[in-house]
């Protein structure tokens, strides 16, 4: 089983049929249930995903359902959530200063660095800057 820290854009991609990386992202979701992967996710991720869907679709139902599905992944043990506590905030600050990442990006990257797992993101800017183990 491959353990990966996952960025919000990956989950949004899995929820957008027209997205360039949609099939790739969907395969990951499928892989979770086959125990091929384990996702490590900052608590920021579901909030971002829901917010993005709500604001872009203007549909509370869709956003709620997306949150529900993500909750389902963690409830069933396919994904683990990492709350942004003081220690992680300090670590994220370090990464932001070190790699020149934006605050939110650094919070996502922090989980990968903390767990020494690859970070999965479709955002090339983050990939370019983040110096830890990369996907």
């Amino acid at each position: 089983m491959k353990e990966i820290a996952v960025d919000s854009n990956v989950l949004v991609s899995a929820l957008l049929e027209q997205e360039e990386h949609h099939h790739e992202a969907l395969k990951l979701i499928e892989g979770l249930r086959l125990k091929q992967y384990l996702f490590h996710i900052s608590t920021l991720v579901p909030v971002e995903v829901c917010g993005a869907i709500l604001r872009r679709t203007k549909s509370r139902a869709r956003a709620h359902l997306a949150a529900r599905e993500m909750e389902g992944l963690t409830d069933e043990g396919y994904a683990k959530l990492y709350p942004l506590d003081e220690e992680r905030m300090a670590k994220a600050e370090e990464i932001a200063l070190r790699d020149g990442l934006k605050g939110h990006d650094a919070v996502i990257a922090e989980v990968a660095e903390e767990l020494e797992v690859a970070l999965l993101t479709f955002d090339k800017e983050i990939l370019r800057r983040f110096r830890a183990k990369k996907q």
């Binding site: 960025d7 919000s8 854009n9 990956v10 949004v12 991609s13 899995a14 929820l15 957008l16 049929e17 027209q18 997205e19 360039e20 990386h21 949609h22 969907l26 979701i29 499928e30 249930r33 971002e48 917010g51 993005a52 869907i53 604001r55 872009r56 679709t57 203007k58 549909s59 509370r60 139902a61 869709r62 709620h64 359902l65 997306a66 529900r68 599905e69 389902g72 934006k102 605050g103 939110h104 990006d105 479709f122 955002d123």
Partner: protein, 613 residues
């Protein structure tokens, strides 16, 4: 001659005859054996053998011995004498018989015996003329002579005959000691065991009667009537399988035993083996084509098999044989009702009522059908008639109430239900109907109490659950309303039309709640309602009723304002996605619904970047 009496009695005891009324010849004897009688005439033994039925071999042996005794005793030729039943008309005839020179020549004992036989013949004659008091006296006189003769067997025969005569007068309790005394004198008298069984049966002591007929058939396995009666008693004891076996035995002995075929059919009806029952009635009818009851019961069995046209034809036949067969008219009406020939059905019940004006069921059925024909006032009059005949006719009170309700006589309707409840407080349907009437009065809490009572009596009463649901909804208790409606629907008991109404109502209740949740932005609650609706549709699918949920949702949607429509669409997304059980398929479905609303050209990366700005 003493030997003759003993042997003759033995023969009688074997069930071949119960009395000696035939001629007794000197010399070679011709023996004619029928079920109850042996006649002896001058003839060769070989000829006698030819005349004997199968199973009478033992009796033939006895008769051969008897013949020798007869020869020795030089009994007078009585072939043409007055001992024959048809000629003994009075006690005086008996006296005249023994006064004849031939008889006079006999020793005293033999003359007494001859008188005894003559008296039993007189008894038999009067028995057939249904003059049972004379019969009883003749047998009693014969018994006195038997005692004088100290002939135990003849005493036993006479006691049996006295008991039978008492039985025919309805004095079964009095008859029993006679049979018992007869059996004390001679234990293996099949006829006496049989008669004792009849008396016990008349006294509703069925188990004991069965035991007697067991004895009778043990002594004489070819005793068809004993098998038949045993079957009847077992039938009364609801031991139908055993009853069928007894009727089979009776039929085996006598294949033309129409009543046995008939009763076998009745027992098979009880066992719900209607096809076999029809075959039995056919046999009975083949033996006796005028067997009205067999035609009637064949009709009933065919009706049970939903072969209504054929049933009607049978009842027509029963009516042809017996035009006053009120039950046949009644049942013909019921079948015609099933065939939706309502006017014809009413005509049949009219005929049944004409024959028997106190035929409460016919009045009631007529009422039900007139109700169906929307002739409500006439229907009420029929129910009144049924109630007049039978004031405790709870169904008539109940239906009268329903009809009065349709005539907007709501107070009277409730009064009828109250009367029905007074007669039978455990009639769930009436409680339910009363609840419905109170609902019309807007006495919702009282209505709920009635439905509760109906459910308490019959938790499987789907209508009560449904109606309680409707009343609770009106009382604003939506969750309880839904629980009750769901319970009623899951029972799968009500007519499809009623279930559809309940399902539509339930669907719209859930949708209403879901819409309110969306409007108040309570998305968790909206999700719960959408899941609930998905579950309901799944339940409905089991009964091919999913389209009812869809249709109810569409109807619900049609009544919404523009603003509400937006919320409805949101709920619809939830319902559509949550209806899918497979997680990956559900994810894909959600993706489809998100994608359709997502701004064109905006990538996931950009969207998240914007979120992070």
């Amino acid at each position: 001659m003493e030997e003759l009496g003993r042997k003759a009695a033995e023969i009688a005891a074997k069930g071949i005859w119960t009395k000696i009324s035939g001629a007794l010849g000197i010399g070679e004897a011709e023996v004619e054996v029928s079920e109850k009688r042996i006649r002896v005439r001058a003839a060769s033994v070989g000829k006698a053998k030819e005349l004997l039925d199968y199973g009478a071999e033992t009796q033939l042996k006895l008769l051969s011995q008897t013949r020798e005794a007869l020869t020795k005793a030089k009994v007078v030729e009585l072939e043409d004498s007055q001992v024959r039943e048809k000629n003994i008309r009075s006690k005086e005839d008996c006296d005249a018989l023994v006064a004849k020179p031939d008889a006079k020549a006999l020793p005293e004992k033999e003359r007494l015996r001859l008188t005894a036989f003559a008296l039993t013949s007189l008894g038999d004659r009067e028995f057939h003329r249904k003059k049972f008091d004379i019969t009883e006296q003749a047998y009693r006189d014969a018994y006195k002579l038997a005692r004088k003769l100290d002939d135990k067997i003849l005493q036993a025969i006479c006691l049996n005959l006295i008991g039978a005569a008492l039985g025919m007068q309805g004095k079964d309790e009095l008859a029993l000691p006679y049979f018992e005394q007869a059996l004390r004198l001679k234990i293996d008298l099949a006829e006496t065991w049989y008669n004792k069984g009849v008396a016990l049966h008349e006294l509703n002591r069925f188990e004991e009667a069965v035991a007697c007929w067991d004895k009778a058939t043990e002594i004489n396995p070819d005793f068809a009537k004993a098998w038949y009666n045993k079957g009847s008693a077992l039938h009364k004891l609801n031991r139908f399988e055993e009853a069928v076996a007894c009727y089979d035995k009776a039929i085996e002995v006598n294949p033309d035993y129409a009543e046995a075929w008939y009763n076998k059919g009745v027992a098979l009806d009880e066992l719900n083996r209607f096809e076999e029952a029809v075959a039995c009635y056919d046999e009975a009818i083949e033996i006796n084509s005028d067997y009205a009851e067999a035609w009637y019961n064949k009709g009933v069995a065919l009706h049970e098999l939903n072969r209504f046209e054929e049933a009607v034809a049978c009842w027509d036949k029963a009516i042809e044989i017996n035009p006053d067969f009120a039950e046949a008219w009644y049942n013909k009406g019921v079948a015609l009702g099933e065939l939706n020939r309502l006017e014809d059905a009413v005509a049949c019940w009219d005929k049944a009522i004409e024959i028997n004006p106190d035929f409460a069921e016919a009045w009631y059925s007529k009422g039900v059908t007139l109700h169906e024909l929307n002739r409500l006032e006439e229907a009420v009059a029929c129910y009144d008639k049924a109630i007049e005949v039978n004031p405790d006719y709870v169904e008539a009170w109940c239906n009268k109430g329903g009809t009065l309700g349709e005539l907007n006589r709501l107070e009277d309707e409730v009064a009828c239900y109250d009367k029905a409840i007074e007669i039978n407080p455990n009639f769930a349907e009436v409680w339910c109907n009363k609840g419905a009437a109170l609902y019309e009065f807007n006495r919702l809490e009282d209505a709920v109490a009635c439905y509760d009572k109906a459910i308490e009596i019959d938790p499987g009463d789907a209508k009560a659950w449904h109606n309680k649901g409707f009343a609770l909804r009106k009382l604003g208790q939506v969750e309880d309303a839904k629980t009750n409606l769901k319970r009623g629907f899951s029972l799968r008991q009500e007519a499809p039309g009623e279930r559809i109404i309940a399902l539509e109502y339930l669907t719209q209740l859930i949708l209403q709640q879901g819409l309110e949740s969306i409007t108040s932005r309570n998305m968790k609650e909206a999700e719960n309602r959408a899941s609930e609706l998905a579950q309901l549709r799944k339940e409905a699918e089991k009964d091919d009723m999913a389209q009812v949920v869809n249709r109810a949702a569409l109807e619900f949607k049609e009544g919404l304002s523009k603003k509400e429509l937006k919320s409805f669409d949101e709920l619809d997304v939830m319902f559509t996605v949550l209806s899918i059980e497979d997680p990956l398929e559900r994810w894909k479905a959600l993706a489809r619904r998100i994608s359709e609303k997502w701004p064109k050209g905006l990538s996931a990366i950009e969207a998240i970047r914007k979120e992070r700005q």
